[in-house]
Amino acid sequence: MDRDRSLITRSPFGHLGTGALVVIPTLFLAYFFVYPVVAITVRGLTPEGVFNPAVLLDVLSSRTLQGVAAFTLWQAVLSTLLTVAVGLPAAWVFARFDFPGKSVMRAATLVPFVLPTLVVGTAFLALIGPKGVTDIDLTGTLWVILIAHVFYNYAIVVRGVGAYWERIDPALEDAARSLGASRLRTFRTVTLPLLKPAIASTSALVFLFSFTSFGVVLLLGDINHSTIEVEIWRQTTAYLRLDIASTLAILQLIGVGVILMMYGRYQRRTTIQFAHGTIRPPRPATAADRIAVGAVLATTAFLLGLPLVILIGRSLVNPQGGIGFANYSNLFSLPAMSASFVDPIDAIVNSLRFALFATVIAVLIGVLASAALSYSQKRTARVFDLFVMLPLGTSAVTIGFGFLVALGWPIDLRTSVMLIPIAHALVAIPFMVRTTNPSMGSVQHRLREAAATLGATPARAWWTIDLRLVSRAIAVGAAFAFAISMGEFGATSFITRPDSPTIPIAIFRLLGRPGSTPFGAALAMSVLLMVITGVAVFAIDVLRTPQAGDL
């Protein structure tokens, strides 16, 4: 109740200033996100300049496309269930036990999540693809897609649910036990109900990522195992049916909107803080605990490690047989043989440059948006939050496609080099906001008041207190943005220009070539990309503070 009378406003800029904070991110998102999406919609519904639902009806009645939509939903549901089932035990272990190497393990779970989809796809090709180390070829099956999605989204469940689980006072579980509930019963009647919002919000996120999955499905699926996202890409690049692609994009957007709304609803519930500090959890004491923790950790290591180990191992198998670095040296010799091979140095330089720009843009827009979010009124914040999070759900392909359709006006940006970093920044902004907003919101009002009574002007208090407390969260967001940009493929595949390919584009081109030499080079390139993003990820975990938000 103190807040309504408080003279120390949360915003250091007054109400007008908060308005200004909203304006810049809004304009950015309006032009680079809303406008392209609207352009796609218009294009889909008015093929020859007039409104014509024929295409929409065609799409809706097409057997093939119905199949794609059904498969997209089906695999997303299965992926979500499987990821939650596999991730929950690990969330429990990370939340409730202390063990040697815990922080390193926790950081490692994040690696697959930020790994470029193409690297993940390539890793699975190396494991269970036609040229893989096993004799099993699972490409073109539902299984490989499910496994890849679990691999990819595992970290969301482990970290999202785990962080929430940690904050549930163990005394509640102890109380249930002392009242006569068995361990299982305690879990069912106390822990699970308390975890529900966290499970729901992470499930929504996993569902969203599986629903709009692109790189993995493109590499590992086939015509019968394809998502709407891949279909949009295929319709555009292979059949040049922009009208069908637009219509599909609209349908997907609707689905994404619904999921995002559910996510937002549960995400808000998870921001309720439990009243207890972070108590260091105990080492597993009983034999049963030790076995459970050991089993869960071994499974995690196997699940997350195997594809990556195979990827690295396979990249060291020379195309002509034998062990060595031939695949890596081929990266440099192949471009000399044919102009259609990308110079690896070029690709790396391009990727780094784009990632740098994308990070700067994402930090600027993301911090402004995050500040606007935490300083504006609850209801405004809720709407603005959904708006800022939209790009997270809108598939990268839609963003790239939208850029192509829309950004010819008012000035033709379609040939601008800046288009790629802007697209990457769009994908990264929601992550930026998610990482910085919680810590911005959690800066205690008391501290601002203390600063005021010690003579700090509102702006000075913000600069010396708020910004300092949030700076690490910003660094985490920036590392995320950098990793995302390095590996971004969906949007880039639309707007890339032949003379400035990125690493993922180079990998994709290599994979499209026949023979074991380009395949080996693709593996080598993937390992390089994995190392670069891996470094960024470890930076994220080193920088992360208790106040910094997760997804």
Binding site: A452, L454, G455
Partner: protein, 325 residues
């Protein structure tokens, strides 16, 4: 006057948290506001510090009107209940923060913050982070930080509230002597009467947003005037005046040591319970006519259930008016 409030009022919606409060605190005085939680005492402090908007009234410090002055320009230091130490700054940086805002040179800041840390007994803590400190140490850092810019008025909002009892007493004495050594004018808010008594030169009893009584602790103790104030300062033996002086209407408080048990006492009662405390037996006696219960302090034991005779020293009985509230 160092601090003056005139008809200060603050309302939260329809709840009037502070009603028409006028107080004067003179230079160097230690003033306490005592009242139960929700009585509006913290709101008073926050209004004086300029952290919340007031509805009416004025606030003046050192004779200068501060009513419209923003918090950061008031010569007021506020020590928060949970200390509100900046978690990202070292102890020394916390202490020097106010000086930094005042534009004091970094060399001077350093000297002054070390000086203050030494004043509060935290030599060698300069480079520690606040989260590594114990509650008592944090309290001292908060005090040093509050005093560093040499504010005209120091406000303390339940500064010992989150510490355990044994620590509270020693820190209270220490805080009191530190404030005295820098000659600070201070206003101390607490719900604990022994804290208020031990701290202040003068105090105000606050209830429901209103100041019921202002005065020195002994003055209030001997003349609480109203039932509520008497209870607030810890008088517990409330009896109808009629019992002690037959025929007189009204209420009175009987100090436990104003009762004397002896064979020819005029009053009779039955012993309910007895306990030993601070060198005397505290005996609870129910009056035979059933009108009241008295706690009396006696040198001898009394057996539960036995009938006792006693007298009350009429001169020491405190007559109060009954509360309408």
């Amino acid at each position: 006057m160092s601090l003056e409030t005139r008809s200060l009022s603050v309302a939260y919606g329809t709840t009037r948290a502070v009603r028409d409060v006028s107080l004067d605190v003179s230079r160097g005085e230690r003033f306490a506001i005592m009242g139960p939680s929700g009585s509006g005492k913290s709101t008073m402090l926050r209004a004086i510090a300029g952290l919340i908007r007031i509805d009416s009234g004025t606030i003046a410090i050192d004779g200068e009107d501060m009513t419209g002055t923003p918090a950061h320009r008031r010569p007021v230091g506020l020590m928060f209940q949970d200390y509100a130490l900046f978690p990202h700054m070292t102890v020394a940086e916390n202490v020097a923060y106010g000086l930094r805002m005042a534009g004091v040179s970094s060399r001077e800041r350093q000297l002054r913050s070390l000086e203050l840390l030494s004043l509060v007994g935290l030599d060698g803590f300069a480079n520690r982070m606040p989260t590594t400190l114990s509650g008592g140490e944090q309290q001292r850092v908060a005090l040093a930080r509050t005093l560093a810019p040499a504010p005209s008025v120091v406000l303390l909002d339940e500064p010992l509230g989150s510490l355990d009892v044994s620590l509270r007493e020693s820190l209270l004495t220490e805080t009191r002597s530190i404030l005295a050594s820098v000659g600070a004018t201070s206003m101390y808010v607490t719900h604990d009467r022994s804290e208020a008594f031990a701290f202040c030169d003068r105090m105000a009893i606050m209830y429901n947003g209103e100041i019921l009584r202002v005065g020195a602790p002994d003055e209030i103790w001997h003349q609480p005037r109203s039932e509520f104030v008497a209870k607030a300062i810890g008088q517990s033996n409330l009896v109808p005046l009629d019992v002690i002086e037959p025929g007189r209407a009204g209420l009175c408080f009987v100090p436990p040591d104003a009762c004397e048990m002896h064979m020819d006492g005029l009053l009779t009662g039955i012993v309910g319970s007895s306990r030993f405390e601070d060198g005397a037996h505290i005996v609870t006696v129910g009056l035979s006519d059933g009108t009241a219960q008295l706690e009396m302090s006696t040198p001898q034991r009394a057996t539960t259930g036995s009938t006792v005779r006693f007298d009350v020293d009429n001169d020491r009985v405190i007559v109060v008016s009954a509360d309408e509230v």
